[in-house]
Amino acid sequence: MSGFDAARNGRSAHAKAVLGPELYARLADTKVLLVGAGGIGCELLKNIVLTGFGHITLLDLDTIDLSNLNRQFLFRKKDVKQSKAMVAAKTASAFNPNVKITPIHGNIKEPHFDIAWFKQFDIVMNALDNLDARRHVNKMCMAANVPLVESGTAGYLGQVQPILKDRTECFDCVPKPTPKTFPVCTIRSTPSQPIHCIVWAKSYLLPQLFGEDEDTGGELDEAEKQGENAQEIAALRKEQTAFKAVRAALRSSESQGQGPSAAKMVFDKVFQSDILNLLSMEDMWCTRAPPTPLDFDAIVNHSFVLQKRADAGSPNGVHTNGQTSNGASAADASNATQENGANGASSSMAGASSSSAAKLKDQKSLSLKDSLELFVSSTERLAARVRAGEDTISFDKDDDDTLDFVTAAANLRSAAYGIPGKSRWEVKEMAGNIIPAIATTNAIIAGLIVLQALHLLRKSYNALRNVHVQFRPNLPLSTIRTSLPNPNCGVCRDAYTEIQCDPFRVTLSEVVEGILGSGEGDEDGTGSREVSVYEGQRVLSDPDWDDNNERTLESLNVTRGKFLTIVDEDGEWGTIQVGVGVLPLNHPVDGPALILPAPLPKPPRKPKPSTPTSAPVEPPTSVKRPAPDDDDDIVPLAKRPRTNDDIVSLAKRSRTNGDLDKSDLVTPSKKRKLDEDGLLLLETADETLEDVEVIEIE
């Protein structure tokens, strides 16, 4: 035995004693995909390297930020702005020469990370911080039938969930809460809470001034259809057109050296003209307090006084900002607002906002004049960046210029509407969706992830546990046995299969008929039957609508990494998800354009369900309009004539494809199917789908 072998043996002695020689030996050949090299990812990478996993693929799309360094311990100050995956792999590799770490600086949702790619791994570990990516990896693991350990942390809380298709619940078996949204008019004309003003500054004003030059009229069209106040919408349209001028001013080099003219132009437009414009609609302000237009010069020379609320009637100076000279920071009022739980501050901030003496610099409140000055300076900084060649600037909580801009604009708007202000510190948390994060919780979770991974690899399924790190001194962990999949889950209850194909040559019907097969024997599918075919939210065909059947997958935008969803028309067979992969590298050029899986998938037969639930549950990708309650009007039963509502939505779409016969867009049988599934017709505003005839469903 060489000296190195002796050392190698020695270094693994402990692990072998506990894992047993058999499992330990297998670890060296085990291929792990670790998605995310952030807080949990760094800890996890260290643990799996130490545990003895031999092949690790580490993927992360992010770069290192200074605020990562309090927990992402594989990074140093000198690594800031570098790729997380690359740096983490380099730091961890140095520790164990026997481990092969393959870092990928990329997005897990890229099309080449398809089913075949996922299948090369023995286990996948999620160390992600966003719902969308976590759901995506979950689905890919269901499709590739690879065990997954899912995890997340928030402050002192965290959880670990082992997932194995058909054995445990998948990530989507339990519905996840969707992000909160606000009505357009609340954001654009009638805010009542600080968060409304922050959303306005971040998602409306900043993109209007520094984002892509796009017509956002669509949003207003939508809002109008949703029945929001037509008069308000008209005022907002007027507001829209005036943006062109200020956008131009911000980009014009002539505005340089002439004082803060461009920033003042923006200020005058959004905090004065637009508000005056809204005020001119007196109806709007009968039942709510009207906003006060702000006066730039008066604020600068301390002579500005916010109008006293007509109905405030407060005995002791309620609107401190309004009734005192605005130059001095309204410290008293802001102390109150710091503790204002009503206005969106999360409970996690209770600790952070409680102290008065030890307040951090950016925790202090801004006076009206402070906000104005910050608005001017941040607008100038952003304008300078645009003039220096930056195409578009979007909000990033770690980009000081955008954070300052959003803080200032939100506070100015709050002042105009008599809403309490927020400090830069608070705005960062609210606008950046910041979740507190510390090293300890990540360490605990990462340790638990590997333990669940070992159970999965050892196939000791009875030992699998969902573990929650909770906030109880007497019981730090809550441990529960895993449950069987939710029989109605729209992700893990589908039958997954994969085709290899050339999307330029293969047609939709070739794929669908190929997958359905002859139905003879056990290996040749279910045989031909009436089905509807979807990609994500889009309907591509159904029994009475075959226009797309002879089109190529490529022309339907069904390419590598996407799924075709085949839903049985009568709900008697389970849904089939067909992953689209590419032909093998050695495939002859003149070979067939489609390689079907063998055996063909045979989803479970179901008794005819009263409420089929086989539709995809992807989150909506665009603004959607739920149908009115009286959905018979919008989704008629079979053979009923189409109503006016349908014509409107269809006519709009037909503009993008003149030769299309409208009646083919929504077939009666599809409507019946949709109706049975509880699905409703919706608007689509997704530009990328314009060349394909689709209906969005939910």
Partner: protein
């Protein structure tokens, strides 16, 4: 980035306003949102002694260096082995083998955060315990953490630190394979920021004059519909209580029937069915019968018996019983006086924090100002009392500590601890615990037995199932039948008596560092007792709580 002269001027002019956070605030941003600047400053002034530089010890330390403790000392005379190199991330792998472990780990730990000061001392703690100078060194830290320390040495260390009320707390960690436990030894731990979501009283049944005046003078019947639909629930309830008392001999609703009547009365105040502020008032009606002047947990603190100071203990103040937390107790006593004071509200001080409620901005801000002004007045009264009773404390305490104490006066915590190992001497309690929590107690006993055996044969050669079982029986009594869970723990430890597994180390690193942070920041409620960890089943449990 090109900027014009003008915009630079503006930037300069406003730099005092914008105050972009410094690099330190940026680095610590995510944790500051949990424990705030006060917690951070407590961390930064802490000095931590860590006995051992094992994988577990360095994992704990990593999680303390990252958030920014002030100083750490690694005290360890061990030489790194091949096994160390395989499980300890804070060694230079193969290169460290044969070199002093602590010295190898030090630079890698310091590299995590350059604002943390650290040193490696290559001495065995036994040596320090032998001299008074060494013992004084140990006592000078703010916290001592020990991993898998020899049983006798741990006993001696625990005794040293228990000897005086003002000595630092000790966290003793033991682990083998998938099993582990940790225990924090402290005399008393006072928490003024437990973050327990306790709801402070809104004074619905004890309204202060300005609030009562608003509720009484508001013309509920004649305000316009919009205003009516936005009356804050607090005002609605104060009004309803006022009216109820007028009709019921100044009594509050007590019986279930009365409570239902009260809710009906609130419902009857509605003008329209969809007035959600009245729905909210009805939903919050519990505050009317559950707003004690002083919650029982806090009343219990007023009558807490004084700590029994060890004979060797130094005094902590002439006017207070001995305690490691004299200032907290001074505040607690003042709080008791405040509640009974004729010039006070007859209950705990008002918290300025208001919950979310359905109302308009004007009313909300008005209500907020009322509460804030009132809270300020009560704080002034409290400060007067404090100055009167404890002039020294009043002079030394900083504004923020006082505010924190008052704001959290409804959820203050005082934990009393026990000496390490003391519980095990109470055989009856341990045997009872073995029946109630067989897994946790069995694992605790097995780990204790293991450490006894390892102190005789450090290589683990004497550790067998029989030997472990015999040791456990020596602890609980020969005729006590061991539950299956205890046997499983014994079997597991016999299988891997000295194995330190990276994932167990990582897990403990997080758990123990978390407890250390709670002790240092005096925020959040720490585990009190033996926290037993079984990572085969991913469970934890606590036994031996005083």
């Amino acid at each position: 980035m090109s900027t014009t002269g003008e915009s630079q001027d503006i930037e300069q002019a406003t730099s005092a306003v914008t105050d972009a956070p410094d690099n330190k605030t940026r680095r610590y941003d995510r944790q500051l949102r949990l424990w705030a600047a006060s917690g951070q400053s407590a961390l930064e002034s802490s000095r931590i002694l860590v006995l051992s530089s094992s994988a577990t010890a360095t994992a704990i330390l990593k999680n303390l260096v990252l958030p920014g403790i002030g100083h750490f000392t690694l005290l360890d005379s061990a030489i790194a082995t091949a096994a160390d190199a395989g499980n300890n991330f804070f060694l230079n792998a193969q290169e460290s083998i044969g070199k002093p472990r602590a010295k190898e780990a030090l630079p890698l730990l310091r590299e995590l955060n350059d604002s943390v000061d650290g040193e490696a001392v290559l001495t065995d703690v036994k040596e320090l315990l032998k001299t008074e100078e060494g013992r004084e060194t140990i006592r000078s830290f703010s916290l001592v953490i020990a991993h898998n320390l020899d049983k006798d040495v741990l006993d001696e260390l625990a005794g040293l630190l228990w000897a005086d009320l003002t000595n630092p707390p000790l966290i003793a960690v033991r682990s083998a394979g998938f099993l582990a436990e940790f225990y924090t030894q402290f005399h008393e731990h006072c928490v003024s920021q437990p973050h327990t979501d306790g709801t402070p009283s809104l004074r619905i049944t004890r309204p202060f004059p300005e609030l009562l005046q608003w509720a009484r003078e508001l013309d509920f019947d004649n305000v316009d519909p919009t205003t009516h639909a936005h009356i804050p629930f607090v005002v609605i309830l104060v009004r309803a209580v006022d009216e109820w008392r007028a009709k019921h001999d100044d009594r509050l609703p007590i019986t279930p029937a009365e409570k239902n009547d009260f809710k009906a009365q609130v419902r009857a105040m509605k003008r329209k069915l969809d007035e959600e502020n009245f729905d909210e008032a009805e939903a919050q009606a519990w505050r009317v019968w559950f707003e004690p002047a002083v919650p029982s947990e806090i009343a219990a603190l007023f009558t807490l018996p004084p700590l029994e100071a060890p004979a060797s203990s130094t005094k902590t103040g002439a006017d207070l019983p001995p305690s490691p937390n004299p200032a907290f107790h001074a505040l607690l006593r003042t709080l008791n006086t405040f509640v009974g004071s004729p010039g006070g509200p007859g209950c705990l001080p008002l918290s300025a924090a208001l919950p979310d409620m359905r109302t308009d901005t004007e009313s909300y801000v008005k209500l907020q100002n009322l509460y804030r002004d009132r809270a300020r007045k009560e704080k002034e009264h409290f400060t007067e009392l404090l100055t009167d009773i404890f002039p020294n404390v009043a002079q030394e305490i900083n504004e923020e500590e006082l505010d924190t104490f008052l704001k959290n006066s409804h959820q203050l915590r005082v934990l009393r601890g026990r000496k390490w190992g003391e519980w095990d001497k109470d055989k009856a309690a341990v045997v009872e615990s073995l029946q109630i929590s067989p897994r946790e107690t069995g694992t605790h006993l097995a780990l204790t037995a293991l450490s006894t055996l390892l102190s005789q044969t450090p290589d683990g050669s004497s550790v067998t199932v029989d030997a472990l079982r015999a040791e456990v029986h020596a602890l609980v009594g020969k005729d006590v039948e061991l539950p299956e869970e205890a046997e499983l723990a014994i079997g597991e430890l016999a299988r891997s008596p000295t194995a330190e597994l990276p994932n167990t180390a990582a897990f403990l690193g997080g758990m123990v560092a978390q407890e250390a942070i709670k002790m240092i920041t005096r925020q959040y409620v720490p585990v009190n007792g033996y926290c037993v960890v079984d990572l085969i089943d991913s469970t934890t449990g606590v036994v031996g709580t005083p």
